[in-house]
Structures are given as structure tokens and as C-alpha cells.
Symmetry: C2
Subunit: 189 residues, 2 copies
Amino acid sequence: MSASKRDELVQRALKTFYQGGFHAIGMDKLAKETGVSKTAMYKHFRTKEELILATLRLRDEQFRNWLMRRVDELASEPKARLLAIFDALGEWFQEPDFKSCMFIKASSEYQDRASPIHATSAEHKRLLRTYFTDLAREAGANDPDRLGCDLLIVKEGAIVLAHLFAPDKLARDAKRTAERVIEAEFASK
Amino acid sequence: MSASKRDELVQRALKTFYQGGFHAIGMDKLAKETGVSKTAMYKHFRTKEELILATLRLRDEQFRNWLMRRVDELASEPKARLLAIFDALGEWFQEPDFKSCMFIKASSEYQDRASPIHATSAEHKRLLRTYFTDLAREAGANDPDRLGCDLLIVKEGAIVLAHLFAPDKLARDAKRTAERVIEAEFASK
DNA sequence: CATAAGGTTAACCGATCAGTAAACGATAAA
DNA sequence: TTTATCGTTTACTGATCGGTTAACCTTATG
């Protein structure tokens, strides 16, 4: 019972922080928006930072699971799966309340490398890079590390610009950019 | 006299916001760090938002001027100038107090598209894209718009990741990624 | 010398910040 | 039925938020 309440709190806090920002959302507003009392929140988490870290861990799990599942569904051929990453991203960008990447925003607000929030954001990107590198290896890339890094760079740039410009345009543009780096990798045999 | 004080304030506020974040730096702390009294600040700017907008305008001017000058200095051949963008970026990443891009961070904290701060951030990226497109055209690209967009995506991704990972590694990686999209553009003749 | 402008310090406003304490209500095991 | 747990609401802490006001100091012009 306590555990499920806790999960519910983290899920709702995730949405609220994602839409509103970390500094901009106070604990009082969070209590109002999640329907969980402040007292209960501080029973589960000793500080706001701990609650934020919990939302980031949930987001990391949710996002990577979603992306991996979506890539599985969109393409079966190993090389096509590399490009499918960007079809999945395009779907995400066009969701009505897409607001950039939770981890880019977290590291924007907590800039100090010593901050656990910053470190958790870096870890998320590291895990994504590993996933991309694995896909590149399965596709038979010469230099999977390099292609994985290329794809991560393109993905992050696309997210930032989708948040500032038209999301659908960036979805198309990023896929075309990804095509170029993928083709370059396989042409370098 | 007033004008120079104002400029001095904006310059110092720029550094303080860049290092500390917009929500995290209050007007009292800003007064302390800039040496300009709160009263004087509110004589020049009616709200904190107006001051932030002034710092963003200064940053846009500073950054684009710096980048254009650096590209001029690093390469003279039109095509080599495209790659020189990423040499310049590498220099920036390795500055001791590099902390990502002011505009990525601003749009992370002010997510609403209706916010003037968000809009100013988008405008900065638009101007950069125009610059990249111009360079691509001068280099004789088939589709300068497309290459300009490619390069902007790579640049933004590199900044985000340089902020989270090792800046020098990202400087090298981003340049290699840029090489790929540039070569792809010129191979598509 | 008078005066007005542009700056200072300092105190203040109501609201909100993160975090705590106390009193109370529900549920469920004993 | 008793008791303990988990949650609630409400009120509170001291600090800080963005923004304002008033009294004072300095400087340059008339």
C-alpha cells in the first residue's frame, strides 16, 4: 500500500516536473497537483532532490523501454533498426505535450557535475549511447562506438531543436541527418 | 554614464545567469554578485524577465560574432569553413567555465512557447541556422538548407553532450560527425 | 551655492520557498 | 474493541522570492 502510493506520487511528480520545470515547481504546488499531501511526500522522500532523483530514475526506465520496444516494432532488419530510432523520436516529438528531454532540462537546472541530478542525467545518456552502439554492432558497423556516438549527437540535437522549432519538421530533418551518418559508416568499409 | 552602467550590469548578469541558472539566481544575489544595487537594476529594467532578455540579446550577439570571427580565422576555403565551425566549438567546450548553451538552458527553464525568453532562444538558433546555410551555399552545396540544418543538429547535440560528458571527447566526436554529413552532402551531386 | 540626476544602503511588502510539527481520521491486525 | 499504522489537513518555521519605497551620498551643471 505504501509502495503503490509512493509509485503513484513519483509518476505524478514526473509529469508535473516535466511540464513545469524543477525549480519552478515548489513542493506545495506539487502536493496540490499530485493530490498527495506534503507530509506524506516527506515521509517517502527526505528532500526535494531525492524526489527528483526518483522521477529521473522512473523516466529513464520508461523512456528507454519505450524506445527499445518501438524500435523492435518498427523494424526487424538490423540496419533498418538504426533508422527506426528516428521514426520513434518523430512520434514522440509530435505528442501534444512534448516538452524536450527531461534529462537535458535537469542538467540545465543542475549544472554542477557534482550534483546527483546532473550525474543521473549523464548516466541516462550513457545508457542510450550503449543501446545505440549495440544496435550499430548488430547491424555490422565497422566502428559501432563511433556510429553510436554519431546517432546520440543527432538525437540530442534533434530534441533541442524540436523543442524550439516545429517538431514535425525536426522529426523529418533528424531522420535525414541520421541517414547520412549511417550511410557514411557503412560506406567506410 | 547611465548607458555604460547598464551595459556593465548586463554583462555581469550574463555571466552570473550563465553560471548559476535563471530561477536559481535571485535579484538579491544578482545585485551582490554584479555590484549593482537592486534599486539601480530596477531603474534600468522593469522586471527580471526584461533583464534576462537583455542578457540573451547580448549573448546572441557575442556568440555569433565570436563564432563567425573564429571561422574566418580558422579556414579560408569555403568548404573547409564548414568544418571549422566544429574546431571553434571545440575551443569553446574546453574553456574552463563552459556550461552548455545559454539558450538551451533558457528554453529549458522557460518552456512555454509564448514566453519571450523561449522565443528569443528560438530566434538565436534560427540565426545560427541561417549562418550555417550561408556557409553551405558559399561552399557550393546542392541543398544548403539541408546541410545547414544537419550542421545545426550536430552542433546542438554536441553542446548537450559536452555538458554531460568529457568536453574534449565531444569536440572530436562532433567534428567527425560533421565530416560525415558534409561529405554526404557533397557526394550527393 | 543651489539643484537635480544617478547612484547608494536599508528596510520593507506579500508571496512563496523547502521542510517540520501537531492534531485528527481511516483502516486493519491484535 | 484496542492499538498501531498510514494517511490527511492545517499551521508553522526561517529564508528567500520579485519588486517597491524612502533617506542619503556624490557629482556635475546651472
